[in-house]
Symmetry: C2
Subunit: 262 residues, 2 copies
């Protein structure tokens, strides 16, 4: 980009790029939430006239799509080792981490693609899909099966993330479970179970919860599908029981939650 360099050295006010725009847009959203992002504020943050941004995105909507894409691009789907179940687990947790790194973007991530039909979506959005399909077919599944698995998997994943974010209370310092969740506001007759579950709800840990969901999902997959011969991925340990629980402390050393009955 010597053109860019040259432009900067002379009078021009330092060229701007789509990437920079999207990056600062992401910053603003991370800081102030989605409603905190307006074209004018973005322009201000960039030291540019707001209208300048329209050279890089036709819409504000397109801009938001861009932000979603940027975030989704950070999801690495090529996991080198482990069998397909491990790989799915790893992907799931990276996705979770991503969501936690940019919680305000999650609604975007989950909702925005609604607007455009699959094949018209930006390539970045489709890459994870292709990647997971590759992963699964490499493991021995047929492409159509891989597609179905992908759908169930990512559906569950999206759902879990949304659920988990809903569980995040805004006042996490509040100690007493009942008070903290404000469950005492609920009438006891109508919500006996929910109220009785206050301690469990209070001790919610997203990572282990995700692992449990994955246990269920993967167990389901293994009962319903002929075990694929995973020759591509180095050491395939198929002897592993389908019911293996995520070992102890969860994925990346998060504190372990109060263990429930199963």
């Amino acid at each position: 980009m010597d053109a860019n360099e040259a432009a900067r050295q002379r009078g021009r006010p330092e060229r701007i790029s789509r990437e920079v725009i999207l990056a600062t847009a992401l910053e603003i959203i991370d800081r102030d939430g989605i409603d905190g992002l307006s074209i004018r504020r973005l322009g201000q943050a960039l030291g540019r006239d707001p209208m300048a941004l329209y050279r890089y995105a036709p819409n504000k909507a397109a801009l938001l799509d861009g932000v979603a894409e940027v975030v989704l691009d950070q999801l690495n789907v090529d996991i080198p080792n482990g069998d397909w179940t491990d790989q799915l687990r790893t992907i799931a947790h990276s996705f979770r981490n991503l969501a936690h790194a940019h919680p305000h973007v999650v609604p975007l991530l989950v909702t925005r693609p609604l607007a455009t039909p699959l094949a018209l979506r930006p390539l970045g959005t489709l890459r994870p899909l292709e990647g997971i399909l590759a992963l699964l077919t490499r493991a021995g599944f047929s492409p159509p099966d891989a597609l179905h698995i992908y759908r169930s998997f990512l559906g569950f994943l999206n759902g879990h993330i949304l659920n988990e974010l809903q569980e995040l209370v805004d006042n996490p310092d509040e100690s007493d479970a009942l008070l903290r969740l404000g469950l005492h506001r609920l009438p006891i007759r109508e919500f006996p179970l929910l109220r009785s579950l206050a301690p469990v709800l209070a001790g919610y840990d997203g990572a282990t919860e995700l692992d449990r969901g994955l246990d269920i999902l993967i167990a389901g997959l293994q009962t319903r599908l002929p075990h694929p011969t995973s020759q591509a991925s180095g050491h395939s340990h198929r002897g592993r029981p389908a019911v293996c629980v995520s070992d102890g402390g969860g994925f990346m050393g998060w504190g372990s939650a109060p263990r429930s009955t199963w």
Copy 2:
């Protein structure tokens, strides 16, 4: 409400109610999408000064929450017959139908609760939760287990709905699969699998796809949990194999999709 009646008979311009407001708001959203709803337009649709609405909702956000609540209230969670798996399936499909009846509300449904912590949410939003917990404990699960199942179940459900809505192409009359999905825009080297799956993608049917996901999920649940003794629900047919596929035509007689390998 004789006060209301009286007021109407005399000079007052026919009392308005929260329900009517939310109902017409829902109408507008169904017709014009979420961005189509503004306070002013809502006021106009109701024949009222826009500012009048603020007597019934403190915010526009609260109003949207109200709409989400109204829709969610239509979800019936008390299914009289069948064992717990059947009941879950039925609930899943009613939810799906609901989502299809109000596709524009789905982002709201899935996203809005993020704002408020669980226990501060309006009761209507929590009722399905309590209902499903009841269902599962009635079937013999412990309340904490029921909670976990609920989370996986609803997570998956939300995810599926989002996925499915994403799959809805705006140009459904287009016949040729590849063209219809515009997959030919994708570079072949990068997206071989995705492109090869064009026909499968074209033949997408949400209902059977949902059933397949449910198959997986329920199979997973059944392998991971001690079979509960469902004494409460009339005839418990536990002999049913875990791998039962939804029989043929899907839930409510939607056309069956091209059957894949499993």
